[in-house]
Symmetry: C2
Subunit: 317 residues, 2 copies
């Protein structure tokens, strides 16, 4: 058995920082959790990262430590680990997060975009271990992506690759938060999905979704639609099948561009059930070029909420 | 001055094979042209390639010859230069064109997809010389593409990358030849553009387009629409501006996926005029993520019809 080595993985989220010590075989041996304090500016956030690392650092004694990896929202400039305009972080335009953390702890800190980090986690430790090339999709509040080529993340020349939530599926379509019309995120992201469900419930007073929210439509969210779908509720299944089909249109465009043929889907909404994966696959197959169709594979991610820590550590392991 | 070396470039088209001797500084010093005979099967086509090379081979005497490059329609498997299902080639499923040509001439022949070859030509000798990363678009009968990263073609794991004509712009849209709905090619490819123009001409009896085709709408094609547009014809400009806008939607999706920021556009239709480039750029900027917008550059290709020979030679130069 080869000697194990270790790394610190930091999952910097909008509300919580989760940090863990990860072994080279993909196990988290210690973990900490702190509030991000994103509304207090970069200095406060870096302070919280420091605390979260300090708390787990004791567990690395006598172990070979490879360094610190950080997964962050926003576009990340590799050189210096500069994080640009992460949403929900006040006063944060361009911050050299990598350099700041390197300075504090005295060993190299590498920073990468959070969707890319989750893709790396699946490639190294999860559903992508057997697939050298795949598209990772994170389907939750928004739709994010990471492209793995030959086992490595494809960042693009400027670190912004894989923004698949803003692939357009209707040039004359719904308004997206980003300013454009018809981005797939505006169709299948959490808020839109919930909103569309509320509208449809008017005509489906017997749907199990209504029972799950105790009749209060303001509480409708994908979690309940998913529970109803798993119980066989017709409306809930329709909504997810439609969403999967629309997501598949965008994924088809992505696959025609980069020619990978395996799609790994994580994020909250992907838990809705097998039928969503079937809908996505069918739709992707309709939209990719003929020679690709028979090879299309759509599978769920394996690592769930641990992907952030594992992938961040994977940056330096 | 560094010593020049040379390569043979073969541009295998649906109707014509064009072959040239190309110097390492991008000059075609001899050229031949033969009918493809695609309807007679692979053996006949390979025979024509042989003739076309034989005709120019005399011009390589005393010169350092690096090998033979071939640009071909269809998806190309790099290993053995296998060309898969090129459209308009009878009896051609999987043909090991690279190996066949290597056997005939006794030195290495490399094969690549024709859109990729044109992208390589622009990268080495044309509008892409100063741009290490760009998306090349060929806009004519169909819409094809090639992605240049760090000066090299991105083929994807299976050689099928850059099929940007089949990026979807409307999931509920027009039927494309490929079987899917809403591919951008079904909106801006030559046939659709002509068809749409014919319909609009009913309401624009004074359009310069009608004069250019002598009143015979069956003759309408992008060449005439372009001539009319350059003369200032309102309808012609409208049609190209719309087409550029729709093409830009698809290109925006591609850029969000791979994060290149320079687009080089070649092919017959791209000659329509500056206003098409303006329309494409505007539309791309609307659809890409905010941090990319200011960097978007859309420029015309430089090499025109020579791109096929130059890029094919570029495969081995």
């Amino acid at each position: 058995m080869p000697q194990l080595h270790y790394a610190i993985g930091v999952d910097l989220g909008g509300t919580t920082i989760k940090t863990g010590i990860v072994s080279s075989d993909g196990k988290i041996i210690a973990q900490s959790k702190f509030p991000t304090l994103g509304e207090q500016g970069p200095k406060a956030v870096i302070g919280q990262i420091r605390k979260s690392i300090d708390e787990v650092l004791a567990h690395t004694k006598g172990k070979t430590l490879r360094g610190i990896g950080i997964g962050s929202p926003g576009i990340v400039d590799e050189e210096g680990g500069i994080v640009k305009d992460p949403p929900n972080f006040a006063g944060w335009h361009n911050v050299a997060l990598g350099n700041a953390v390197t300075k504090i702890f005295g060993f190299g800190a590498k920073v990468e975009n959070d969707a890319n980090v989750a893709a790396i986690a699946e490639a190294k430790f999860g559903a992508g271990k057997r697939h050298p090339n795949f598209l990772f999709v994170i389907w939750g509040t928004g739709v994010g992506g990471g492209i793995i080529l030959n086992g490595n993340i494809y960042r693009g020349p400027f670190g912004g690759a894989g923004e698949i939530g803003h692939v357009c599926i209707d040039y004359n379509g719904l308004q997206c938060n980003c300013g454009a019309l018809g981005c797939v995120e505006a169709y299948v992201g959490q808020r839109y999905l919930s909103q569309r469900t509320v509208e449809r419930l008017k005509h489906h007073p017997r749907s199990a979704i209504l029972k799950l929210v105790g009749g209060d439509v303001s509480k409708v969210e994908p979690k309940y639609i998913s529970q109803a779908a798993l119980k066989g509720d017709k409306l809930a299944r329709e909504i997810f099948t439609e969403a999967g089909t629309l997501l598949g249109v965008a994924l088809g465009s992505v696959l025609n561009t980069v020619d990978v043929r395996v799609i790994i889907i994580g994020g909250g909404i992907s838990a809705a059930g097998d039928f969503v994966f079937t809908a996505i696959k069918k739709s992707v197959q309709l939209h990719v070029m003929k020679p690709m169709r028979k090879d299309i594979t759509v599978i769920p991610a394996k690592l769930g909420n641990s992907a952030g820590i594992l992938g961040a550590a994977g940056l330096v392991l």
